[in-house]
C-alpha cells in the first residue's frame, strides 16, 4: 500500500454559498440534459470548452502510462464547443431515426466537491454521475463514472470551461452513446 495521502481538511475550501450554487448549477445542467434541452445546455458551455471523455484500456497497475493525459488517444469525446454543436446538430435535422421515439434519460449527480483554482473566477468542481437510459421496449443501460470540471464565473452565472469524464466501463456495454454526461 502507498503511504497515506494528507487528509483533506473537513471544512470546504469554498463558502457554503458557492458550494450550494455550483451544486445547483450541476443539477440544473442535469435536468436540461434529461429533458433534451440542448440549446440551453450549449449556452452553459464556454467558447473555449474542452469536453473530454477518454477511452481507457485495462492495464496492469505497474503500467504507468497515463491514458487520460495522452490527448493523442482515441476518446469518446475530445470536443470543442463547435464539435459538440456538430454532434447535436444531428438531432435538429429531423432525420435522426434512432432518436424517435425519444430515449428516456435520468442523470443523477452526486459527491459534489468544489475547490479553488489559481484563477479567481474559475473553480474545480468534482462530481460523480449515474446516467440511466431507457428506450423503446427494453433497451436499458447505465453509465457510471467521475467528472472533473472547471466552471468559470461569468456575469451572474457560471459557464463550463472544461470537463473530463471517466466512464468506469472497459467495453461500453451498449450500442452507442447518444447521451452527454
Amino acid at each position: 500500500m502507498k503511504a497515506q495521502k494528507k487528509e483533506i481538511p473537513l471544512q470546504p475550501y469554498v463558502s457554503m454559498e458557492l458550494l450550494t450554487t455550483l451544486t445547483q448549477v450541476l443539477y440544473r445542467e442535469a435536468r436540461l440534459l434529461d429533458q433534451e434541452r440542448y440549446d440551453e445546455w450549449v449556452n452553459l458551455l464556454a467558447e473555449d470548452l474542452h469536453y473530454h471523455m477518454p477511452g481507457i484500456e485495462t492495464r496492469y497497475r505497474r503500467d504507468k502510462y497515463d491514458q487520460v493525459a495522452d490527448l493523442n488517444r482515441m476518446a469518446y469525446y475530445d470536443d470543442s464547443k463547435e464539435d459538440l454543436k456538430k454532434r447535436l446538430a444531428r438531432l435538429e435535422t429531423g432525420t435522426a431515426w434512432s432518436e424517435d421515439p425519444a430515449t428516456r434519460y435520468v442523470h443523477l449527480i452526486s459527491n459534489v466537491e468544489v475547490e479553488l483554482t489559481e484563477k479567481d473566477d474559475e473553480f474545480l468542481v468534482l462530481s460523480n454521475f449515474y446516467a440511466y437510459r431507457n428506450r423503446n421496449e427494453r433497451d436499458d443501460d447505465m453509465l457510471i463514472g467521475h467528472r472533473s470540471d472547471i466552471w468559470r464565473r461569468v456575469g451572474g452565472g457560471f459557464e463550463l470551461v472544461k470537463r473530463q469524464i471517466i466512464l468506469k466501463q472497459n467495453i461500453l456495454l451498449s450500442k452507442n452513446l447518444n447521451i452527454y454526461l
Partner: protein
C-alpha cells in the same frame, strides 16, 4: 457427425439462393449454426489480430479474440510477433487480464506457472512437487496459432495448419487494400487506444453493412451527414461510375469521385492533406486507385474486419454468440502525416464513427433490431431480400479486379460474402472450396499494378 456432435456436412447453401437473391434469417440466430461458424469460419480463416504499430517494442503485447478464443499477441524479446491462447495449459485459467502493455512474462494467477513473451513455460511455483517425467516444460507452453503473417502493417493469424498463404487468402483484394495501406510512403499506423462497445446483433450484420451497404448511408445517416457538414445532404451516388468488387468473400464498394468519404469526416484540413498527396498517390497506385481512395466507399475483409478508407475508422466485429457482438474500433492514419493531421483524423473519426459519433449512433439500433426480431419463430422463417443490382455484373473490366458489379447501390458484395460464408461452412476441407473467382495478380506485388489490363 463431427466435433461436439454437430453435423459437419450440412448444406449451408440451403439457407440462401443467391441467384434469386435471398438469404434465410436463421443464419443469424441459430445456436448450432453459430457453433459451426466458430469451427468452420473462425478456426480456419486468417483473422486480423493487430496492427504492427500497436507492438513497437519487444515485450509489447495486446489481448484480443480469434472467434471466441482469447489470444495474446506478443512481441517477444527476440522481436518476433507471436499469437497464443490466453489460457494456461495447467487448468486453463486466463493468464493475461490487460488489454495491452509491456511484459517480461505472463504469470498465471492460479498456481503460478509463468510464460515468457514467446509463450514458453519458464517456471512453475513449487517446482519440486513435480517428479522427473511429470512435467515437460517444453511441451506445456501457451498454445500457439498455426500461422502468422502480415500484409502491409496488418497482422493476421490462423488456427488452421492447412490454411493457404495470407497472400492467397487476400488474393487480388490486396490491390484494393493498397488504397488504404500503401497510398503514401511509410504506410500506416493505428492511433493509440481501442474503443470497444457491445451491440446486441449478429456479427454478420456489421460485416455486410460495411462490405457493400452504401444504400443505407444516405438514409440511415442523413442526419449525421447534415450534422457534420453544415446541413449538406449525402453526396449523390453516380451509379455509372461506382462499383462493388468482391474477392474471396472480401468486398469493397466504391465511387470514383475521390472525396465523398473524406467530406463525411467533416475535417477540411484532412481534405486538404489528401488533395495535396493525391498526385503522388496517382503516380504510386495509378490514376484509378487514387480516385477509389477517399470516394464514398466501405470495405470488409472476410470474415470480420471492416474499414472506411478516407474516414479512417478500422474495426472488427467480434462474435459473442448469435445475438451479440463486440465492436472493436481503431483509427488508422498514414505514418507520414503531420501530427496535426493525425489528430484531426482522430477527432473526426470519433465524432462520426465513435459510439457517440453522428453516424455510428444510428447504426447499432438497426442491426440490433434486424437480429432480435428473429426471436419470433414465424419471423425467422421469412427470407431477406438481397436482389439489388443482381443483373449488373461487369465482366472483363480493364481496371478493376474481382467479381465486379456496377453501381455502388447494390447487394452484390453482400451476396458474395454469404456465398463465401456458405462455401466455407459446408467445406469439410478448405481445399474443397469452390473457386468463385480466378486471381489475375497472384504472387505479385499489387502496388505497382495500375489495373487488370496492366498485369
Amino acid at each position: 457427425m463431427g466435433m461436439d456432435g454437430f453435423e459437419m456436412k450440412a448444406d449451408y447453401g440451403q439457407f440462401m439462393d443467391l441467384k434469386e437473391g435471398w438469404v434465410d434469417r436463421r443464419i443469424f440466430t441459430r445456436d448450432d449454426i453459430y457453433e459451426q461458424e466458430l469451427y468452420k469460419i473462425f478456426a480456419r480463416s486468417w483473422l486480423f489480430v493487430a496492427h504492427e504499430s500497436q507492438l513497437p517494442k519487444n515485450g509489447d503485447f495486446l489481448t484480443t479474440h480469434m472467434g471466441e478464443d482469447g489470444v495474446i499477441v506478443s512481441r517477444g524479446h527476440d522481436g518476433k510477433v507471436r499469437v497464443f491462447l490466453n489460457s494456461c495449459p495447467h487448468r486453463g485459467n486466463k493468464v493475461c487480464f490487460a488489454d495491452a502493455g509491456n511484459a517480461r512474462r505472463f504469470v498465471c494467477n492460479y498456481h503460478g506457472w509463468s510464460f515468457d513473451g514467446k509463450g514458453e513455460l519458464q517456471g512453475v511455483h513449487e517446482e519440486y512437487c513435480y517428479d522427473p517425467g511429470d512435467l515437460d516444460k517444453s511441451k506445456n507452453g501457451l498454445k500457439q496459432v498455426a500461422k502468422i503473417d502480415s500484409y502491409k502493417g496488418l497482422i493476421f493469424a490462423t488456427f488452421d495448419n492447412e490454411a493457404v498463404s495470407l497472400g492467397e487468402w487476400l488474393g487480388d483484394f490486396r490491390w484494393y487494400l493498397d488504397c488504404l495501406l500503401d497510398n503514401e510512403d511509410g504506410g500506416t499506423e493505428f492511433m493509440p487506444g481501442c474503443i470497444k462497445s457491445e451491440i446486441n446483433a449478429n456479427w454478420k450484420f456489421g460485416v455486410e453493412n460495411f462490405i457493400g451497404d452504401a444504400l443505407h448511408a444516405g438514409w440511415t445517416h442523413d442526419s449525421g451527414t447534415r450534422a457534420m457538414n453544415g446541413g449538406e445532404p449525402f453526396p449523390p451516388v453516380d451509379m455509372a461510375n461506382s462499383y462493388h468488387a468482391s474477392v474471396n468473400g472480401h468486398g469493397w464498394e466504391f465511387g470514383l469521385e475521390g472525396v465523398g468519404d473524406i467530406f463525411l469526416l467533416g475535417r477540411p484540413k484532412v481534405m486538404e492533406y489528401y488533395n495535396d498527396i493525391r498526385p503522388d498517390m496517382a503516380k504510386r497506385l495509378g490514376e484509378a486507385r487514387s480516385k477509389v481512395f477517399g470516394s464514398v466507399a466501405s470495405a470488409s475483409i472476410f470474415p470480420n474486419v471492416s474499414f472506411l478508407p478516407g474516414i479512417s475508422t478500422f474495426r472488427q466485429w467480434q462474435p459473442k454468440g448469435p445475438w451479440k457482438f463486440e465492436l472493436k474500433t481503431w483509427v488508422i492514419v498514414n505514418k507520414n502525416m503531420p501530427d496535426e493531421i493525425k489528430s484531426e483524423v482522430t477527432k473526426g473519426v470519433m465524432q462520426t464513427f465513435g459510439p457517440g459519433g453522428a453516424f455510428e449512433m444510428d447504426d447499432g439500433e438497426n442491426w440490433e433490431n434486424c437480429t432480435t426480431v428473429n426471436r419470433g419463430v414465424v419471423t425467422r422463417h421469412e427470407k431477406l431480400h438481397y436482389r439489388c443490382g443482381i443483373n449488373r455484373r461487369v465482366n472483363d473490366h480493364p481496371t478493376f479486379p474481382g467479381i465486379l458489379y456496377q453501381g455502388q447501390y447494390n447487394d452484390a458484395n453482400q451476396r458474395n460474402f454469404y456465398e463465401r460464408w456458405a462455401d466455407m461452412m459446408g467445406a469439410e476441407r478448405m481445399a474443397d472450396m469452390p473457386e468463385r473467382y480466378k486471381s489475375v495478380m497472384s504472387g505479385r506485388e499489387t502496388r505497382d499494378i495500375t489495373g487488370v489490363k496492366a498485369v
